[in-house]
Every structure is written in C-alpha cells, then in structure tokens.
Symmetry: C2
Subunit: 142 residues, 2 copies
C-alpha cells in the first residue's frame, strides 16, 4: 500500500511548500489553489476524518488555521474574507484521506462559490426542523 | 442597534431548534438547510470572526461539531459525508456576523458543491507557491 501523501510530506519524504509547522500540525500551500494563498492545515497524526481526531488535535488544527488566517489578512495577498472548509468523506469532496482543513482567501469576483441544491431558498418549517433535530439527538452518544 | 440574532437565540429570546448545548456553544438547525440535518455550531461569546475567537472557544466549537457530526452519521438522516464550513467576512459568504460553523450532511446527488474559478484545474508552479507562502510567512505574528 502506498504511503499517505500527507504523511510523506510531514516526514519530509515528499516536497511541499510549508508556511507553518508546530508539534501537532503542518500548514502547506495547496498546489491547486482555488485562490492565491490557499493553504491546507494538516494534523501530523494520521486520521482519515475529523470525527476520528481527538479534541486536542482538533484544537491544534483550528488554532493554526486562525494563525495563518490572521497572517493572510495582513499579507500582501488578496484576502478580504476567508473560508475554512473541511471535507469528511468522498461524498463531501474529500480527495486525500488524511483529514485536512482548507484555508481559502476570498475577495469579490474571485469566481469561487457554493452551488446550492435547486430547492435551497426554501425555509424549512419548524416542525420539520424539529423532526430532523430529533433524529440527530437520538443518535448522540450512540 | 438591534441585537445579534445568534445572541438572542443563545439567551432564549428568539426561537431556534436546538440539537446540542453546553457552557460554550449551542448547536441549532439551519432554517434554510442546504441538506436536511444542516446545523450551525455557535459559540456563546459573541465574536464576529474565527480570527477573533480564543483557542479554547475554537476547541469547543469544533469538538461540538465532531459530536453532532458523529451523531449525524449514526442518525436516520441521509449522511454519507460531512462538510464543515466557516465563512469569515462578507466576501467569504458570511451573512450573520457572529462566528458560526456550518455542519452539512452530504450524499451523492445532493445538488451541493463548489463552483470553482475558471482557471482552477491549473497546478501552480513551486516558485509561485513559494512566493505566496513567503508573503504569508512575512505577515505571521504581525
């Protein structure tokens, strides 16, 4: 089985453009940036999904994201806003199965946005929301 | 100045469908869900942006997201993957200016996805990545 590409990068066996690193995470430039400055925050311990990460590792990832997000805003790159995006699972668009957080600089006219389902603008009725919430609550702690 | 809608919900002054709550966060159903089960994780302390939140509050938000994400996957709602999305700033799509994390259930054919800029598929040259990384590094700690 070939080694996970992000694990290889973390061990220095594959090249990447690093922006930041500490004991828990590495932040690298995405080689196919959505906008210039698009970074990936990668936990050093291999976990496929956010839901498999422990809370301290989660904290490390999002604290690092905050750090590089702040830097982005103060940098000379175009950045008027930031999207932080994590995809858990292929159906959510995950392509590398080592959890990672996208940090994406945004500005007016950057050509990036969300394509919504056709029935999106509809507000859901409270009864229906409550029904769905009930299904999630019922599964908590399972 | 009208009170922030999320602060009103947290204080119980405005209705919302709550899924989970602890000392630091509330998780409510999005009234305009992208897919059924779409939730918002809201820190109780009012901060506009992720970059203004302290690290413990960030940890609380993403730990709660993990909790409800796990429940989503075990629930009877359709959920084969999850997107976690946070928008910092109007240019990033933020509509309520109290930081919040979207937890969005995903499944094949759900009609939701990212609309990429027209030049997206192009890999950036290492030299160019390094130039951008340098700009971000230069702004770290500023």
């Amino acid at each position: 089985m070939p080694e996970c590409i992000f694990c290889s990068i973390i061990r220095g066996k594959k090249p990447a453009t690093k922006v930041y690193e500490d004991d828990e995470v590495a932040v690298i430039m995405d080689i196919k940036p959505i906008t210039a400055g698009h970074m990936l925050v990668i936990p050093k311990v291999h976990r496929e999904l956010l839901t498999e990460m422990d809370d301290d590792s989660i904290k490390a990832v999002f604290s690092a994201a905050k750090k590089v997000g702040n830097a982005l805003k103060k940098s000379k790159l175009r950045c008027r806003g930031i999207n932080y995006l994590l995809a858990d699972g292929a159906e959510a668009g995950q392509e590398v199965f080592h959890a990672h957080l996208h940090v994406i600089p945004r500005y007016r006219g950057d050509g990036f946005w969300l394509n919504m389902p056709s029935d999106y603008e509809k507000e859901m009725k409270p009864g229906e929301l409550e029904k769905n919430a009930g299904k999630i609550r019922a599964a908590m702690g399972k």
